[in-house]
């Protein structure tokens, strides 16, 4: 009788497969040997074990070997090399899928079939499953239109903008995640079939709201791919609500838009029209060289886009950052990459080849009739230009002008580059108060109104406009009295801000003389420079993540220490509060891999990630200790939930102090971030083991209310003024026995100064630009009033009730 050998990466999988096959044997004896795993728990295959298993299974009639994948195949082949000639000739390696093949092979072997017959039977084992799925579905969702007998279906596009960039990106990402060739066709327009794996091809479908799309698939996971696509389509491609994505209906340019960044701006219009990149007339230095240049440039731009994506996710939430996923998909779009490759192979140099391929695809978008899709041609050109700049070394084009900037929308990079001294205001055709451009404009103190409709871009350059970013009111070419009113309001606002700026560098105390340190949250050396200019008393939060993200290996101790040192220097030696690495499964680090998590916000992040990667943590703590010998440093640990975590982190810090060998740094303070509600309630215990507590209101709010901030469907729920959140803050202040500070966005709300100081908070840390006004807000607080009022706020019904108390 023929013997069988099961080769698998997993011992457990092999055991279970053998058990399944044995059920079919009803007691008939078939020799099945297992060569699987390096041991019971370690995945891997071992050629020498396969040799032994083959020898054990061979009773003279030979052996059929079934394998799972990858190294199992290679190791089995190598095992054949290691066998002596006679034994080798009696072994057949069978390409059947492991489970199906083993079941069939066991039955065949039990009937006394030869090894070639057993192998042939096993190799056909997949036929049953294949024919099952090749048959028409029992309840046909669509007329069969499949080319190769694969599954087909149809769905209707429900989103208000059709299959625009973001849903198309989701569709493409999902299509690519299956081992199947998935194609789409717009039945309504009668378009040709296109590959669902190509964002540029999918966009050519011109799929608008109400259009019916057909889908067909072939390949191993064809059915799964179609099923998942239908689920995705039924969910509206993950767009939370219509309101969340709908650009506002076109309005008259004079009127109201969405208030995006408070403040009054008056000035002449200028438009953001980036200078085109000149494509150099270069000749190819060989296809491989040119192709490598393109690979390098694309990789550099991918890193840049990922950085912007991470920044946007940080300040504006993941929903807003998702649009950059479309940009990333464009960078490795098979249609684009294939075209470029063909041009490079045909002898074109990198830059001309790239430019031509981008232009072809952009032109296809532009020819698509629909406004929204035409605007996507701009996306393609923008991403294409980024790569061209990387290829040619041309400097990045940032919008530059004086007065009121008018644009369709701004990228975060553009918004972050605006100079508040020259830009009086920003008017956007699209976008919303929560868009990246709006949030960054607020951070830079530039008044902005968004969602004005495409008409606003038609206002000629030089026309005077006035805008109120707090109300969304915009007046084009205002009448003299209107202009006077705006100018007067702007002047009053300017005076107020001027007063704040004048006193920004002085410490802030409440009217009754209680000092409140106002620090800045910084995420780069540049932020630290801005913080110093804005009069920050300290860096109340240094987000060290920027040193760790988007790179292939962790920063060394020296590199980290150098950056921390430069941040301290930029702040003129004022105290810096270094928060240790705070990332999780939503921003995986390539050099600190962890398992995929269903819910990364409740997973291995913050101190938990540092605990799982002790070498990474130790290096960061050594950098902290090294700099703490030179300048005042506080260190704090994020996402702490238990006292044991804090004690372990302190232990690691003590080891770093020993390793540096210069004793305990004199000014080093150790703090705990209070983001987990349980930590707020255990403030007394934490206070016994820490020098200070720092409340991160952003995370505390979303954990306390179980509502993600970035989810537009839950807008308003994750409100840090919620009395439940304030109770947690108040408890921490009462119980801690050490100073409690707040470093979330709440601290930047001028109304919050009274609430928080009333609860007992004695330090606030905010975006650099907000420091002067927050100091002014602190100076306006009378604790004799604010204290009792804050206590009353704890009993309010809701956040609006709290605001009413402090109005």
């Amino acid at each position: 009788m023929v013997g069988l050998v099961v080769v698998s990466h997993s011992w457990a999988l092999a055991r279970a497969a053998v058990a399944l096959a044995s059920e079919m044997l009803h007691g008939r004896a078939v020799r099945i040997e297992i060569a699987a795993g390096l041991d019971e728990h370690t995945f891997g295959t071992d050629a020498t074990r396969i040799v032994t298993a083959v020898q054990d299974a061979d009773a003279g009639d030979g052996v059929v070997v079934l394998m799972d994948l990858g190294s199992a195949v290679l190791s089995a082949e190598l095992a054949l090399d290691l066998l002596d000639d006679g034994a080798r000739d009696r072994v057949v390696l069978c390409p059947a899928p492991l489970v199906e093949g083993l079941v069939v092979a066991a039955v065949a072997a039990a009937t006394g079939a030869s090894r070639d017959e057993v192998a042939a039977e096993a190799a056909g084992a997949l036929a049953g499953k294949q024919s099952h799925f090749a048959a028409p579905p029992p309840e046909p969702a669509a007329p069969a239109a499949g080319s190769a007998g694969g599954p087909t279906a149809a769905f209707t596009v429900t989103g208000p903008h059709g299959l625009h960039a973001r849903p198309a990106a989701r569709l493409v990402a999902q299509a690519r995640s299956h081992d199947a060739r998935l194609e789409l066709r717009n039945r309504t327009t009668g378009s040709p079939w296109v590959s669902a794996a190509s964002l540029s091809r999918v966009a050519t479908l011109g799929a608008l709201q109400g259009h019916e799309l057909e889908v067909r698939a072939t390949g191993a996971q064809a059915q799964e791919a179609v099923d998942h696509l239908l689920v995705l389509a039924a969910s509206g491609f993950g767009e939370h609500t219509q309101d969340a994505v709908a650009p506002p209906a076109p309005r008259r340019p004079a009127g109201a838009g969405v208030p995006a960044s408070p403040g009054i701006g008056v000035g002449p219009v200028w438009h953001d029209r980036g200078a085109p990149v000149v494509v150099p007339a270069e000749t190819s230095r060989g296809a491989e060289t040119e192709w490598r240049r393109i690979g390098d440039a694309v990789a550099a731009v991918r890193r840049a886009v990922q950085r912007v994506r991470a920044d946007t996710a940080r300040v504006a939430g993941d929903a807003e950052a998702d649009v950059f996923d479309a940009h990333l998909l464009l960078l490795d779009d098979p249609e684009l990459v294939g075209d470029v490759r063909a041009r490079v192979d045909g002898g074109e140099a990198a830059a001309p080849a790239w430019a031509a391929a981008v232009e072809r695809i952009a032109a296809e978008f532009a020819g698509l009739g629909d406004d929204y899709l035409q605007a996507r041609a701009a996306d393609v050109r923008a991403v294409g230009d980024q790569v061209l700049r990387a290829l040619t070394g041309a400097p990045a084009a940032a919008p530059d002008g004086e007065g009121v900037l008018v644009a369709e929308d701004l990228t975060p990079a553009d918004a972050a580059a605006l100079d508040p001294a020259r830009v009086a205001g920003v008017l956007l055709a699209y976008g919303s108060a929560t868009s990246h451009a709006a949030i960054l404009a607020r951070a830079r103190g530039i008044p902005a109104v968004a969602g004005l409709g495409a008409g606003i871009t038609a206002v000629p350059a030089g026309t005077v406009v006035a805008l109120d970013g707090a109300t969304g009111r915009v007046v084009v070419d205002p009448a003299p009295d209107e202009l006077a009113a705006f100018t007067a309001a702007a002047a009053e606002q300017g005076r107020r801000r001027g007063r704040a700026l004048e006193r920004a560098a002085s410490p802030a105390a409440t009217r009754d003389g209680v000092a409140v340190a106002v620090g800045a949250n910084v995420g780069s050396v540049r932020d630290a420079e801005q913080a110093a200019a804005a009069g920050a008393d300290l860096a109340g939060l240094v987000r060290t993540e920027f040193l760790f993200l988007d790179r292939s290996r962790a920063p060394e101790v020296d590199e980290q220490a150098d950056v921390y040192r430069r941040i301290a220097a930029a702040l003129g030696g004022r105290r810096i509060t270094l928060r240790t690495l705070d990332v999780g499964g939503d921003k995986p680090l390539r050099y600190a891999p962890g398992p995929a998590e269903a819910n990364p916000y409740l997973g291995v992040r913050g101190i938990r990630l540092s605990a799982a990667h002790p070498r990474l943590f130790a290096a960061q703590l050594r950098a902290v200790v090294r700099v703490a010998h030179e300048t005042p440093v506080s260190v704090m640990f994020p996402m702490v939930a238990t006292v044991a975590e804090l004690l372990r982190a302190r232990q690691a810090l003590a080891e770093a102090v020993r390793a540096e060998g210069r004793g305990e740094p004199a000014g080093l303070l150790v703090g705990v971030m209070v983001e987990v509600p349980a930590a707020a309630l255990k403030a007394a215990a934490f206070g016994r083991h820490a020098d200070f507590l720092s409340v991160g209101t952003n995370d505390l709010t979303q954990y306390a209310l179980a509502a993600e901030r970035g989810n537009p469907a839950l807008a308003g729920l994750a409100d840090p003024f919620d009395p439940g959140v304030l109770r947690l803050v108040g408890h921490a202040c009462r119980a801690a026995g050490v100073p409690v500070t707040v470093c979330g966005e709440l601290a930047a709300d001028e109304r919050a100064a009274a609430v928080l100081t009333g609860l007992g908070v004695r330090g606030l840390s905010v975006a650099p630009g907000a420091v002067p006004l927050v100091k002014e807000a602190v100076r306006a607080v009378d604790l004799a009033v604010a204290g009792p009022r804050a206590q009353a706020a704890l009993d309010a019904d809701d956040a609006d009730g709290v605001r009413a108390l402090f109005a």
């Binding site: 995945f43 071992d46 990858g70 290679l74 190791s75 190598l78 960078l331 292939s552």
Partner: protein, 213 residues
């Protein structure tokens, strides 16, 4: 150190030990690269295998070059676990066969053994150039080695050239789309990531250049 024109068991041992050290130092990086396009175990697997190899070399000294290379190959085959086990294992076993019964190898003999290793790996993995595998670093390395030796340069220098070629080959894997191994399941998404196997292979030549200085 003097320029070795005899690759004996001492040189081979130094090579393999240094390779093990380099892999241990780069284990996290290799695993991170593999995490991007594979099953995130290349660094761990290679480190486990080469640690076992070093332990095996600590035992009774092998009789000659072939015995040493065979011991390395067999140890890798049964301790690495992933696809790099049979691939690197095959490379060293083929080197052992090429070494024959000579106690030590001359430069040309060492180069021929390394090429036999490449041929074995390519055949085992059915890899073609451009498939984004370790062969994309291995092939240019042995080409450069042969070329430098043919130009009359000493083995140490020739291995430095081979290492440089391996690194260029490794870097060139980044834009490639994987057509072999688990990374090929990612299709186009594998482009933009450096191949982990090509990365460890470049370390193998780095170690060789260091051992024969």
């Amino acid at each position: 150190m003097t320029d070795a024109d005899v690759v004996d068991t001492a040189v081979l041992t130094a090579w393999v030990r240094h390779f093990a050290r380099l892999v241990a130092e780069h284990a996290e990086e290799l695993t991170a690269l593999d995490a991007a396009i594979g099953d995130a175990d290349h660094g761990t697997n290679m480190d486990r295998g080469l640690t076992a190899v070093v332990a095996a070399l600590d035992g009774e000294p092998p009789a000659g070059a072939a015995a040493l290379l065979k011991r390395v190959g067999m140890t890798l085959v049964s301790t690495v676990g992933g696809a790099s086990g049979p691939l690197y294992g095959t490379a060293f076993l083929r080197m052992a066969t090429a070494a024959g019964d000579r106690p030590a190898l001359d430069p040309a003999g060492f180069a021929a053994a390394l090429r036999a290793g490449l041929d074995g790996v390519a055949a085992r993995g059915r890899a073609e150039p451009g498939d984004k595998t370790l062969c994309d670093a291995y092939a240019p390395a042995v080409d450069a080695l042969d070329e430098a030796l043919a130009a009359g340069r000493p083995l140490g220098e020739a291995l430095v050239a081979a290492h440089a070629a391996a690194e260029r080959g490794r870097d060139a894997t980044t834009p490639m789309t994987a057509r072999k191994g688990r990374a090929s399941y990612l299709g186009e998404r594998s482009a933009g990531h450096q191949d982990p196997g090509a990365t460890s292979l470049a370390l193998m030549f780095q170690a060789a250049a260091a051992a024969v200085r």
